[in-house]
Amino acid sequence: MIANYGYRDGSGEYYVTIDTALCVECVGRWCVEACPERLFEIEMDDYDDEVVAIAPTARKLLKERCAGCKPTGGHVGLPCISACRPGAISHSW
């Protein structure tokens, strides 16, 4: 399943996309530890697969919570995307 967490507001679109089919096979779940804001969490989805999701409390705050990892925060690559070996994570902005 392709899960798009986030929102669109007057300033733009802020979605973190997770391909949860790739999470099912992932043994490390490295994204959970890599995110300095602890936005990723492991959950059981509606079809009883253990996948990674964005924490519900963060879904409406992605623009602010992810800001520190964007290029202006001094990062070259996003820690979550770099850590995700299956390549399941992408950002819309």
Partner: protein, 300 residues
């Protein structure tokens, strides 16, 4: 009721029961309860067949709303909570359904409900809820493949439409029809924010717009907002709209114009209601989960 005290936002609550179907003959009775931000629905299935449903307004207390809507669906059937084998809660209040065996997201439930209502050809579902909007892509079995939602603000949602109904003094159920009683389609209003919609609507009336023209502009703005979500996820036919706004032709037709495709209508020979899709999906999950439990128990 005077014009000043009339509740223009109030939509019709609904109660339906299958004629000639007796739950006492069934081997599995399953229920789905969708506690949404604005409305709550309960659906009861007997042996996988639609038996009864009830739709009501969500109150300030989610467990009470869940109890009230399930009681509404059971009313006059002689059925009690003890007669239901399995219950699944869904919607934003799903974790607050006190008697549910499991909570499942409304994303999965709307996809499954739409698949049951229309059939395996449905691939894209637009759920226009009370305070959010979702686009869901699913497979031929109604399993979610891809989804996107916008629940950061209530703009372009059912609650927004209720506010416009009250502001303009037009029954929420007449908005769709009246939005077409215009000479020329106006540009969408610039702001669908539920808070600012009131001031924008009154400002347009002041400069001479008719009420119907304002309604058309507001419906067009709502359609534009959700069409953006559909664009982002991509559209695969068949396309079906669920949620209360699915009953508002003023928004539905304008969405169809923007996406260039007609939404699949409900078959005329059914008693489905697009507003019960989430609860129906939850009831289908409940039915399947109970049967799975029974199989596992029998195999032990």
């Amino acid at each position: 009721m005077t014009k000043e005290t009339q509740e223009f936002w109030r939509w019709s609550e609904k109660n339906w029961r299958a004629p000639g179907l007796d739950w006492r003959d069934a081997s599995v009775v399953a229920a789905g309860i969708d506690v949404g931000s604005v409305s709550s629905q309960a659906v009861i299935l007997v042996d996988g067949e639609l038996f009864a449903y009830h739709s009501t307004r969500t109150g300030s207390n989610s467990p009470d709303s869940a109890k009230r809507t399930l009681a509404g669906a059971m009313e006059g059937t002689g059925m009690t909570l003890d007669d239901v084998n399995h219950i699944v809660g869904t919607g934003y209040g799903r974790v607050n359904v006190p008697f549910a065996n499991r909570a499942i997201t409304e994303i999965a439930c709307h996809a499954r409900g739409a698949n049951f209502m229309i059939g395996p050809t449905v691939r894209t579902i637009l759920d226009m809820g009370g305070q959010d909007c979702k686009v869901i892509r699913c497979d031929e079995k109604g399993k979610v493949q891809n989804f996107i939602m916008n629940d950061k603000c209530a703009a372009g949602t059912g609650r927004g439409m209720e506010v416009i109904a009250d502001t303009l003094g037009v029954s929420v159920e007449d908005i769709g029809r009246r939005s077409f009683e215009i000479d020329e389609e106006p540009a969408p209003v610039s702001n669908v924010c539920t808070v600012f919609a009131k001031s924008e609507a009154t400002a347009l009336l002041k400069v001479g717009w008719s009420i119907n023209r304002v309604l058309a502009a507001y419906c067009a703005a709502m359609a534009e907002r959700v069409a953006g979500l559909i664009d982002r996820l991509g559209m695969e036919p068949d396309f079906f709209i669920t949620g209360g706004i699915a009953k508002n032709a003023g928004v539905v037709v304008r969405i169809e114009r923007l996406v260039g495709r007609r939404a699949v209508p409900l078959p005329e020979d059914t008693n489905f209601d697009p507003q019960i899709a989430g609860a129906l999906g939850a009831a289908l999950f409940a039915d399947a989960l109970y049967r799975k439990e029974q199989r596992v128990a029998a195999a032990r």
